[in-house]
């Protein structure tokens, strides 16, 4: 019954394009939202469960995307192989970084991850020979599963939706596993966790790598889906947005992170019509949600729903 929410979500994801065929807000925005969900769910493992902040997560997103872009356009690798290579590269980098970076705490960790993100972005802009520079790389082929090519947005929606569900399912399982329990102990108090015999540094490394893999996976999908990559999809603003999604939705909840990712994606699409007022409204909304629902949208709203349900039941005996 633990997975009831999961199946409800899966049903919704499948029903949407059937109910609203060829709808931009379902298909195109849905792809963007789906990718954001994968990223946010992965980051939530690190932030929500292990209590470690990362302000450089867009770098792993970018590593996945650029691995796919460079290997397919310059070396003609098949897309799936490039995706796998992206995962390996991001995983290795995360593993190498994990030990020194995760020794840091709080704001020092935030700074170190931010610095890593900035360095990765500078390389994307400056190493023109490999990355195509500020305008990026174009002509990335779509994903191809044994001849079935993901060459239109509906196919793209299907693939991203499946990937998103996979990411959520994985996240739910990691949280429930032995590692997950160790992580939650770690978030409460690292010292106490150590006393309980948990190898905290090992657990942190594992979750950092896992979270980087989620991001690189989303990056590869992103590159093959839109056919080009450029550094501005992976800058500090994106890293900050990802953190915002996780916190906005509700830390330490897989559905919360997903909820935050979808909310922020929709918010952006909705606010664009306000033109010059967009920024003002965006900032005010962000502040309001965090001040009035400090536990995040998902927790806040589900509490409200529970309260409404209880009062409604109370009124009709």
């Amino acid at each position: 019954m633990r997975l009831a929410g999961f199946f409800a979500l899966a049903a919704g994801v499948i029903a949407l394009p059937v109910l609203f065929p060829n709808n931009y807000f379902v298909i195109v925005v849905g792809i963007a939202a789906g990718l954001h969900v994968i990223l946010a769910v992965g980051l939530n493992l690190l932030m929500g469960y292990a209590g470690q902040i990362s302000l450089g997560h867009a770098a792993f997103f970018g590593i996945g995307a650029y691995a796919s872009a460079i290997l397919t356009t310059r070396y003609a690798w098949p897309a799936l192989l490039a995706l796998a290579a992206g995962l390996v590269v991001a995983g290795v980098i995360a593993w190498l970084l994990a030990r020194p970076i995760l020794r840091l705490r709080g704001h020092y960790l935030a700074m170190a991850t931010l610095g890593f993100g900035v360095i990765a972005h500078v390389i994307m802009v400056q190493a023109t020979h490999w990355t195509g520079g500020p305008d990026g790389l174009t002509g990335i082929p779509p994903l191809n599963f044994l001849g079935w090519s993901v060459n239109n947005d509906l196919h793209g929606y299907g693939v991203v939706a499946a990937a998103m569900l996979l990411a959520i399912w994985l996240s739910l399982n990691i949280v429930d596993s032995r590692v997950g329990r160790a992580l939650r102990a770690l978030r409460g108090s690292e010292f106490a966790a150590q006393m309980l015999g948990i190898d905290t540094s090992r657990a942190k490394t594992q979750v950092f790598v896992a979270s980087a893999l989620f991001a690189a996976f989303a990056g590869s999908l992103f590159a093959h889906q839109q056919g080009f990559v450029s550094p501005d999809s992976f800058n500090l603003t994106v890293s900050v947005e990802l953190v915002t999604m996780v916190v906005l939705g509700g830390l330490a909840s897989t559905y919360g992170a997903a909820c935050g990712a979808i909310a922020l994606t929709l918010l952006h699409q909705g606010l664009v019509v306000f033109e010059d007022y967009e920024m003002l409204i965006h900032g005010a909304l962000l502040m309001a949600v965090m001040i009035f629902l400090p536990q995040g949208l998902f927790v806040g709203l589900s509490q409200a729903a529970r309260w409404a349900w209880r009062t409604a039941r109370g009124m009709t005996p």
């Binding site: 704001h107 020092y108 610095g115 890593f116 010059d276 920024m279 003002l280 965006h282």
Partner: protein, 292 residues
């Protein structure tokens, strides 16, 4: 080569002074409230934009600078009262997002008030460069930046070490409930910290605007560099933030001049990472044990 080096140092110290002032603002707020205020860069932008607007409305420079600083202090107080106080007790990341929201909001307001253009501001005492040894030059405005920074840093130091108010503020940073017990009004102290940071930020903005111009987005980059300065120096240590800022500025200038101008930001941040790997609480941070 030596004369080039001198020029790099002049540039580095000018830019570093600004990072130091912004970093100082981060440190003061962090000390008082454990919050990293990501709207610190926006204080810098507001100070500059308001000073420019007042100048073009005909105010003389000293008055425009004073009014712009006071108005920015007011914004800092409002931010504390209406965004930070209601969220008291919220997790650290929540307050981070609140200040990020505030930064976006302030940028949005500036965009509506002053548009998207860059705005110039006349230098305080002319543009004629001062010639130093071997062809190196220095702008009078750079002297202003360095001089005012030294003055402000000294004042902040005296404030924290010599005045009762400053000591009370410092007490809050060590132990808030203990401070409350000895009769310090923590709430007032918090507002004081935000006002002080906002004022310092605004002054930094007014000092730099003649060199770099200003626009509604000008705070983003300075905020980022100021945060780095505060971290490198050991967050919560005001003088550490100043040292961190100067170090970062000089390093950027040397990186751009001697190694590679394209990769200079990467060089600066690589340095920051190296510092943290070897000194996980910054160069001058407290090595205090974490509470269990």
């Amino acid at each position: 080569m030596p004369e080039q080096l001198l020029q790099f140092l002049v540039t580095g110290i000018t830019v570093g002074s600004l990072y130091a002032l912004v970093g100082l603002g981060f440190a003061i707020i962090y000390n008082a409230s454990d919050v990293v205020n990501f709207a610190q860069g926006e204080f810098v932008m507001l100070g500059a934009m308001m000073a420019i607007a007042l100048l073009s409305a005909g105010f003389p420079l000293p008055l425009a600078a004073l009014l712009a600083t006071l108005l920015t202090v007011l914004v800092g107080l409002l931010l504390e009262r209406f965004a930070i106080e209601p969220a008291a007790g919220a997790p650290v990341v929540t307050t981070i997002i609140i200040t990020i929201g505030a930064a976006i909001l302030l940028r949005g307001v500036a965009l509506l008030l002053w548009g998207k253009d860059f705005h110039p501001m006349p230098a305080f005492s002319g543009d004629a460069p001062i010639h130093l040894l071997g062809g190196s030059t220095l702008l009078p405005q750079s002297l202003w930046v360095m001089g005012v920074t030294v003055l402000l840093v000294a004042l902040v130091r005296v404030f924290f070490n010599r005045t009762l108010l400053g000591k009370a503020l410092l007490a809050c940073s060590f132990n808030r409930s203990a401070a409350q017990l000895v009769g310090i009004n923590v709430r007032v102290m918090l507002r004081l910290a935000y006002g002080l940071s906002a004022g310092l930020g605004a002054l930094a903005g007014i000092l730099i605007a003649p060199i770099t111009f200003s626009s509604y987005e000008a705070g983003i980059m300075l905020g980022l560099k100021g945060f780095s300065a505060a971290i490198v120096g050991g967050i919560g240590n005001p003088m550490g933030a100043v040292a961190g800022g100067l170090l970062l500025g000089v390093l950027e200038a040397l990186g751009a001049g001697l190694i590679s101008s394209g990769y200079k930001d990467a060089i600066a941040f690589l340095f920051v990472l190296m510092v943290l790997f070897f000194e996980p609480t910054g160069l001058f941070g407290h090595k205090a044990a974490e509470r269990v």
